[in-house]
Symmetry: C2
Subunit: 288 residues, 2 copies
DNA sequence: ATGCCTTTGTGAACGCGTGCACAAAGATGG
DNA sequence: CCATCTTTGTGCACGCGTTCACAAAGGCAT
């Protein structure tokens, strides 16, 4: 899952809880698959299994939309597909611009999921003049200078930012000023936007770090368990390879006085991070 | 944000709430930026602003890690960077494999954020024999046949799935069988995994659909407001361009009897979706 | 040394989301 | 037409996460 949720915190939009909204696309996907297999009806139990959620939760979610089921039978697949699509606004055609056509931007432009559900890539925009005119995914890349006119000419309200972190906030401001009110941000930065603008964030690095946390915890428990069992089975070495020297769990220098700022921190690969702008930028060059 | 959270629901891992864990990478990024600017200390207020969260929340988050602040002063940047890194398991080196080297997989392989924080791309794996040996991001792509040996030889515990939806579950099972216990899934499918395996999902399509929902709601409110103001200002046409005929809000055919399965559903671009497997698959070809 | 001022750490209240469990509703078979 | 069986829709309780508000803690100036 992406890490989004830079949302209006409380405001329950039109009575439908945010958590439910986030699951509707999941249901829609499962329903679409059923529809393609010409399945006429589906029970909450079956659909919940397909979507990977609890059936009670699914029924409650649907109850926010209305009473669309038939007791003793289940839900009509086609009808539900329509209702959810309408609720999500997918019966409209949403023009989308992608800003930053590096590796990721190009991949997004080619992503089938965009076009498949009412989303249409209206334009690809990049700051590099050398990119201008180049076709990516069948669409000619346009220069950032034309951003404002592209937005207003096409009535774009959804923008995707796939630029390096450093450029994201500026691009964001231009998008918002031009009329964009929803932004999907792939750059590893916190965007600040005025009220009324929705931002969702997808951050690969954060997802990996969360996984690493759980992985470490699992390794720790495993080790504790192994220790408790006094090596009945093979020692099962912790899976992570290079473990740091674990220099004094508490760097005394930094603990008390404000560190002079130099690299006293024993963080892994702190050096490798330095020569690349703040954090993991999206490289702008395509691979071989 | 990605849509993940296919997690152990309750189990508060080592006392640290899941929500807090998800924010730690955010704090870490902000702290790293401060560290590079040689800022010695930072208050919860400042850091919270940089991370885009409430300062009380930040303090409570940190309180789960321990008492690392100094009252009246704030937090020592270097020290906190180290503590969070350690808590997240980033003082270790995590070898990662990426399966599915299409557009997205290649973009991920080139993604700077991977290497920057203890994550090392150990191998790129693709099912297409024609890809085998080709260098992507400086690493030669290997064939799926070698998946198991790659995992065990490198002690890989984290896998990234960037395959088309159809192949994802199978790849997932092979990864898990080979010893992977954490998976970052970019394929638009619900993966089923045994207990003890963590899955996080990143789904671009879902993020867009959530944005579309809010966008539609905003447009609706705006329209209602305009109607209330009786067109004092310019009519401000709803931003979405092509609006469907809105055929009878209730497709009567499907409402009562189980539809015959054929396309009665007035869903936008239902046709465009058909010739591409269930939902938005990740195209396997690179762009021009 | 003493008092003031800043900032942390946390107790407590609140609200949202989840899951249980069951009554109501409707289909289905006799 | 009635009985039975399936499945929905939801009232209720519980737990997690968020936020407020404040007391304790420490630096700093005098």
């Amino acid at each position: 899952m992406a890490t989004g949720r830079t949302h209006r915190p409380a405001t329950r939009s039109r009575g439908i809880p945010e958590a439910t909204v986030a699951r509707l696309p999941l249901y829609l996907r499962a329903l679409t698959a059923l529809s393609e297999r010409s399945v006429p009806t589906v029970s909450s139990e079956e659909l919940a299994a397909a979507a990977g959620v609890n059936s009670a939760k699914l029924r409650k979610d649907f109850s926010y939309l209305g009473s669309y089921g038939t007791r003793g039978v289940g839900y009509d697949v086609e009808y539900l597909v329509y209702q959810i699509s309408r609720e999500l606004g997918l019966t409209q055609d949403w023009p989308v611009v992608i800003v930053g056509i590096g590796n990721l931007g190009a991949a997004l432009a080619n992503y089938g999921g965009f076009a498949s559900r009412g989303f249409r890539v209206a334009a690809l925009i990049d700051a590099d003049p050398a990119m201008a005119g180049k076709p990516v995914a069948g669409i000619a890349v346009q220069h950032t200078d034309e951003l404002e006119s592209i937005i207003s000419d096409n009535g774009v309200s959804i923008g995707v930012i796939a630029t390096p972190a450093g450029a994201a906030q500026q691009v964001c401001e231009r998008l918002v000023a031009a009329g964009v009110t929803s932004i999907l941000n792939f750059a590893p930065t916190v965007l600040s936007v005025p009220d009324g603008v929705d931002v969702r964030k997808v951050d690969l690095s954060i997802e990996l770090q969360i996984l690493a946390f759980h992985e470490q915890r699992k390794a720790g428990e495993e080790a504790a368990q192994d220790a408790a069992q006094a090596g009945a089975t093979a020692p099962a070495p912790a899976r992570a390879s290079r473990v740091l020297p674990d220099a004094a769990a508490t760097p005394a220098t930094a603990a008390t006085g404000p560190a002079t700022g130099a690299a006293t921190a024993p963080v892994a690969s702190a050096d490798a991070r330095d020569n690349q702008g703040p954090d993991g930028d999206v490289p702008a060059v395509m691979p071989a």
